[in-house]
Symmetry: C2
Subunit: 320 residues, 2 copies
């Protein structure tokens, strides 16, 4: 079997994790990393300036977009998908439907494949939620943490006077228990918000008040705010472990109870996210073999596509 | 949207559960039940003799095969797939690869779709094992029970002198704990086997010995045999609750730990199995819309196919 040639765009935490994940898989060949910054790979992977990706049109099959911020992905995905098959982890949940339609048109036009929002959530958690919803005809309940929420951390950092901040999402254990037994009240807080902020002492009271009143993010949710120095904050930010759980408790048609549960624990959020992206490189190859183009989410891709296509018989033998 | 017309073949525990599941879904229209026995539906569903299914070629889109025994499914699936799209729960794990190839040819020839082995295991547990295997590059570990194993119960009933028997599979809690932490020794028993047997007192010592020496099923596994009267056994056989868990503990490329866990609890094994079969009726409709024919397992079907195709936008909005 020919190896699949892979490129990585972006060399932050996720890009570095993706580099190791691709190098560890003997079916893939890591061709180059593209970065806007001047960086070196400790694994001696070739690093190229971002704009040189067009030189690699014949040399790379699949690009893993590991851009650190949402604006990166919204700009880079269309640019790169003009020339390559692409996997990204676009995670602004509310924008996914419009982004999907936009990328679908682009990929159809350029005759490529884009797997978008391909991390753990959105990503395989979305797939599991969809399966649970189909089986139960009910919305499953998701719990996250304990772990850092980038979205909530960003929301705090946008407040005037905040030098740096990080937010840990902590699930409410009582709510998890109630969700599992199918008795979670609508108004029970599902998560606690632990915020750590660096700022000038004179601003702390105002900032705490502002944080607790950010709608959708903190307002109405149990939130604690602690003020720490920059060194302490850097230590907190380096904690990359995370956890999540999807729960569905319902009755089947014969009025009997059924409980479904899916949970993930990870030491390193970027390493697990890179592991998922890398696994879906095989899906790109299968989609290509089937001559389909366009945008896809994890919900659109059969699990058998996560293996090289020749493994069909093996899958049936070992997994069914 | 036009309703999907559904037929049910077989009217044992699974057929009865399927009837209720189909009736409960407003997108489906239950046309008839086909049975070799003279039976009545308490929901007033029309019951027809098995052989009359050919009269329904224009009236039924999808047939749910709820045959009680493995020999039923191996004979009925090819017969019915000549005329209809079909879902079955074929569960002889070792025969699945050859059965798949056989059914794939039949379905391609008759231009129909067969979703086979579409229960919880094999079925959605196979899908989850495949996903865990793709992500971890390791075999996940499955635990079943506490619940009745039909295969093990059958194996006991084949012993001469056994009037009736049932076997409960009980997972080894210590093994589950070790599997979750990634430290399960290869030789640690994963399940206990609780056997309940009805026989003449003079045969009991021989039968216990024979049970404990059935290779693959009991030999080398912690097994207890209790002798009970037929009334007690009937009570035990009516316990339809079951449970199962798939566990994967592995390291991602960056050498960080990751743990995946999927678990199901059900009050009623046939009700949950029927719930899964009924959910996959939508998958048949999506496969048909995409003009594909052949045999499929749950691994081959994207989760988005478990919903009517018009729900694409909703899925992206609510689940991603």
């Amino acid at each position: 079997m020919n190896k699949i040639n892979v490129g990585i765009v972006g060399y932050g935490n996720l890009g570095k994790a993706a580099e190791q994940a691709v190098l560890a898989n003997k079916n893939f060949n890591l061709v180059a990393i593209f970065s806007r910054r001047l960086v070196c790979s400790k694994f001696n992977t070739k690093v190229e300036p971002y704009n040189s990706f067009t030189d690699y049109v014949t040399k790379i099959d699949v690009m893993l977009l590991c851009g650190g911020s949402k604006s990166d992905l919204e700009i880079q995905t269309p640019e790169i998908a003009e020339y390559f098959d692409v996997i990204n982890t676009f995670d602004t949940h509310k924008k996914i439907p419009t982004e999907f339609n936009k990328l679908n048109e682009i990929a159809k036009k350029s005759k490529h494949r884009i797997i978008m929002s391909c991390g753990w959530d959105p990503g395989i958690f979305s797939l599991i939620r969809a399966m649970f919803m189909a089986l139960s005809n009910n919305n499953p309940i998701t719990f996250w943490g304990k772990g850092i929420s980038m979205g909530h951390s960003d929301a705090i950092r946008r407040i005037s006077g905040v030098d740096d901040a990080v937010q840990f999402t902590v699930p409410n254990k009582e709510a998890i228990k109630r969700a599992k037994s199918g008795t979670l009240p609508e108004d029970m807080p599902r998560h606690f918000r632990e915020c750590y902020v660096v700022c000038k002492p004179k601003d702390s009271a105002r900032i705490e008040n502002e944080i607790k009143n950010i709608p959708n993010y903190f307002k109405g949710q149990p939130t604690t705010v602690s003020f720490v120095d920059q060194n302490h904050l850097l230590k907190l930010k380096s904690k990359m472990l995370h956890r999540g759980e999807v729960i569905s408790s319902f009755k089947t048609a014969g009025d009997s109870k059924c409980k479904l549960n899916f949970s993930v624990y990870m030491d390193s959020n970027p390493n697990f996210t890179a592991c998922i992206m890398t696994t879906y490189i095989n899906a790109i190859a299968n989609l290509k073999e089937n001559k389909v183009t366009g945008a896809f989410t994890n919900l659109d891709i059969p699990v058998s596509y996560l293996f090289p296509s020749k493994y069909k018989e093996t899958l049936l033998k070992t997994l069914c």
